[in-house]
Amino acid sequence: MAERSFAAEVLKLKLGDGAVVSGEGILAVTKALLQSGVAYIGGYQGAPISHLMDVLGDAHDILEDLDIYFENSASEATAAAMLAASVHYPIRGAVTFKSTVGLNVASDALADLSSGGVKGGALIILGEDYGEGSSIMQERSHAFAMKSQMWLMDPRPNMTAIVDAVEVGFELSEASNTPVMLELRLRSCHLHGSFVARDNVRPSMTVTEAIDNPVRDLSRVVLPPASFLHEQEKLTQRWPAAVDFIRDRGLNEVLGEGTADIGIIVQGGLYNTMNRAMELLGHSDPYGDTDIPVYVMNVAYPVIDSEIIDFCKTKRAVLMVEEGQPDYIEQNVNTILRRSNVTCQIHGKDLLAEMGEYTTSVVTHGLSAFLDTYLPDSTTHKPNLLLPDDHPDSPFAARDSTSAVEPRPPGFCIGCPERPIFSALKLAERETGEHHVSADIGCHLFSINAPFDIGATTMGYGLGSAGAAALNSRNADRRTIAIMGDGGFWHNGLTSGVGNAVFNDTDQLLVVVDNDYSAATGGQDLLSSGNNNPIRSTKHSIEKAVRGVGVKWAKTVPNTYKVAELRDTFIEALTTKEVGPKVVIAQSECQLNRQRRVKPEFQQALKAGDRVVRERFGVDADTCTGDHACVRISGCPSLTIKPNPDPMRTDPVATVTDSCVGCGVCGANAHAAALCPSFYRTDVVYNPGFTDRVRTRARSWLISRLSKRIENRAAAFERQI
């Protein structure tokens, strides 16, 4: 079950004509899909579109009522291949994933899909993970649109615009027999706003109807000679059809035409940022009434030559606001103008940042430089962010010793079961020496930061094992370690990593982190999830799977909090004479999900009068000597430091905050690393039973007698208060 429940939000999906829906951008996309008569939906979770999959999962009743098929795809490639259903049948399908990583994985299927073309509308909703908060390499989805000839929509970050883009995206796809990608930037996905709903539409043909009436058209299969014809079709038929549709429907917008002899071209997704920059420079207002013409590209690809020419031919200069690199659109625009002999000067990356996210600050700088050149007296106001950093009114003026502010990168959550895995690995390495560690994608990648500092490369989701494939030598004294999450394992790691290692006889320790969910993406269920999912088949063992592809040495450690046991298993796997891959499956439930499950259970038991025990850890400030070795081997947010309560000592002591969930890793580390005797666990017993009461009475009697001698002696020496 996913980390966040949308049970309340999905009710909004049932709203009809005229109702105002308010919520996240993701909810708007889902509603728009239902309003478009989509017949099937698939996808793979990943920020920033994880919630789209979660919303759909929570809405499965509504989807079933509308005869919409919904699948949690095994990977982005699976999701993309699903769209094959729209090749022969006039049914609309949508898939979603994180980009560019999702597109990388899906591109084989998407290339084939684009070659043969589609009959029913095929929409790919991309969560563009670029800029602040991104967890992946910084690239653009735009390149995929160009290479396979798929159209790329980039709507304004506004709920109504997003909903419209989904609906018109299907129409564009059908009009031009081409798959359409809809790009939503990170912040747009998490945008809260509202839009006016329309009625949901049942698909004109359902998946069931398609299955029962099979169609086959040889001209759509990607094999010579059809594949050569597809390329011609793309340029001679589909492209012109798309251009006509985009022009006729006015998908791109021109605002404020005639107000000035210069202009701005902006990607739709950047429009709001652009308008804010214009507001800050006094050239627009909150409703976008601009005094400089703006061409908004809600379709970023294809670029419509005639629209560009029309916009530019009446202007001295135009600023192209295009995020990321390379500057594909700017190059395209320059080519169009050059070919048509339009002399308008195009600016873009020469005035704006060459790379990186286009924040308000970045766009304002570029726009200001552009206006200073072409309309020097028009700007009446300049915001402080344009001042040089050393100006006292600059927002960045040194007002403190800013070096005091330290970065705070993301890390393992409180009580995370992956933390002890890396504690154990660190302890194992103390005995076996350091190893090359190939990391993967997932929460476990936080191991690369302090305090663990484990992991040398990450080559992509599920590729932890493959990333160490070359480092396989019979002559080496130590073997390589690879990490893989359960998400990556089922995504592709079982074949690309484990199967590969078996086939090539790779001498590798592969640690599979099995936390019951695809945790990093928001706790979605997987094949190996331990719970019963009413609409999916779960509880498929990872160990059985690896043995199934031929791994001989495989061990499952069912409780990662037992640091010493895990450490010993690692040492064994690193030293055994057994050839081939050694697979350790480290298993414990994601704590975020566990707490969501356990907390209500605890409250319920408490109310029912059952005996329940609440556990938390603590550190004796008297016994702690303030070395913080415990922090260096754990890094749990609830294990922190506080001023030393001892008036004689100065260094801070370790302490455990109230947020502790009592996972036990502090105690296990104290043992496994022979840390110090300062750690204790407190068990608070609620609704004690008969045995508890009798035992307590006996204990109190003894302890009060024995402690009297100790306390009396101390009282002779200690200050009496």
Partner: protein
Amino acid sequence: MAGWYDGQRPITIAILAMGGEGGGVLADWIVSLGEANGYIAQSTSVAGVAQRTGTTVYYVELYPMDKHRSESGAEPVLSVFPAPGEVDIVIASELMEAGRAVQRGFCTPDRTVLITSTSRVYTMTEKMSPGDGRVDSALLLAAAQLGSKRFIGADFEELSRGTNSVISAALFGGLAGADALPFERVQFENAVRESSKGVEASLAAFALGFDAAKAPPQLPTVDKQAKQTRVDSVSVEIGPRPTKTRAEKASEAAEKERYALALSDPARLVGPSLGAQAERVASEFPAAARSMLLHGVERTAVYQDADYANRYLDRVARIAAVDPARSDGATLTIESARNVALWMCYQDTSHVALQKIRTKRIEGIREEAKAGPKQLIQVREFLHPQAEEICDSLPVGIGGRLAKSKSFERVVGRLTAKGIVLNTTSVVGYTLLWSMARLRPMRPRSLRWHREQGEIDSWLDLVIEAVDNGNPALAVEIIECQRVRKGYGETYARGRKNFDLLIDIAREIQGRDDAKATLSRLISAALADEDGTALQAATATVYAQG
């Protein structure tokens, strides 16, 4: 056109928090507050894996609904990014995040109302240091005050903890109390009521946050004029830590009272059996050092006996006799009083056992765990005694022999390999610890005792040698070297090794002009990391310079 500079602009609010702290809930409350009261609201955040415990910025814009324009279908164009210099309200869940808001230009002195918790959530770097890696809160607080138009700081974390709620509720109360938004208190509270979970606790925290913002604790304000002219050096002008929690203020007052008592009636600062020692402190030692000495007397006596306290005073007396600043701060004497006592009360098995069974400890744990006064609690210790530690606490003869015995090491190793979990609140556990604590009289016959006492004396010899050679400043640093002796097991061994190295170097360089600075640098290096890289690097430069 009427635009940004004519007030045609949204209210902009940035929230800086750490993932999992409820910043999203706070943003949602602000959105529903706005939407319920005639505003169009838009909020965004960067979510996903980037949120897990790391810094996260939530951003909200509120724009007054214009009926006329809405009816014609026009919507205001709101931004998804906070623009530096253009944020009206910044809410920070923690002091360093407030500093980050200033650093990133979101919080500026010409515009921003800053509502921040003055509490700290330490970063990994701060926590990991083997010594004290904490950033000076005064720097952060100065940044927050200088970087905001109006500064509202309170320990919202502490407020929310008292109500069993989350910090976001207290901060929302702070926002209401700040009068920075055009809404009434009841409108804020309605937004909280609309959310389904934990409404009562949230409202309680909200109320405390509201009051705190109405009457923020008195913090010495930073002279903004002075800062404007000397922007680079603001940090040095702040002076004493301006932020003080109630607890800190109380402890400061207690410290003052204690200091006065140490002069007027020192016997009251120790137990009835230590009257003679208190008298000796009053008659033989400089006034400034007395409070610290009485701490030491009390500690050494509890640790061993009254004789041991006498021995402690003898040791510090040696230093006090040569302290050139006896009547002027007596730094050397104070630091000796502190460090000699700490070393003399080294953490051995018997002492740890005593600490574990003290009544006040169990009471403290009960309070920490929020258990009721009669509620059943159990306390389990995670112990890992090692052969070396056991040998150390045995009488010299037998301990020495066992230390050399491989079979003894094996037996202990096997028994404790997995560590021991001891229930202090049980009959067996308590009795075991109690018996170990009762071994105290055997301590002076132990191997470790002999070793430690010898090392203490030769350390103090070196201190006196440094003073005799006219370098009292170096003497203070030599005393401070005790700080690197920490921990148990391997950590203890490492600390001892580093200490020996520092003392050797101190002895060698004591004639040099830079001896004090060098040793101080080496102490910091010894406390900088675990594997000794920093100390090694620092040591290498000592002789290169000389």
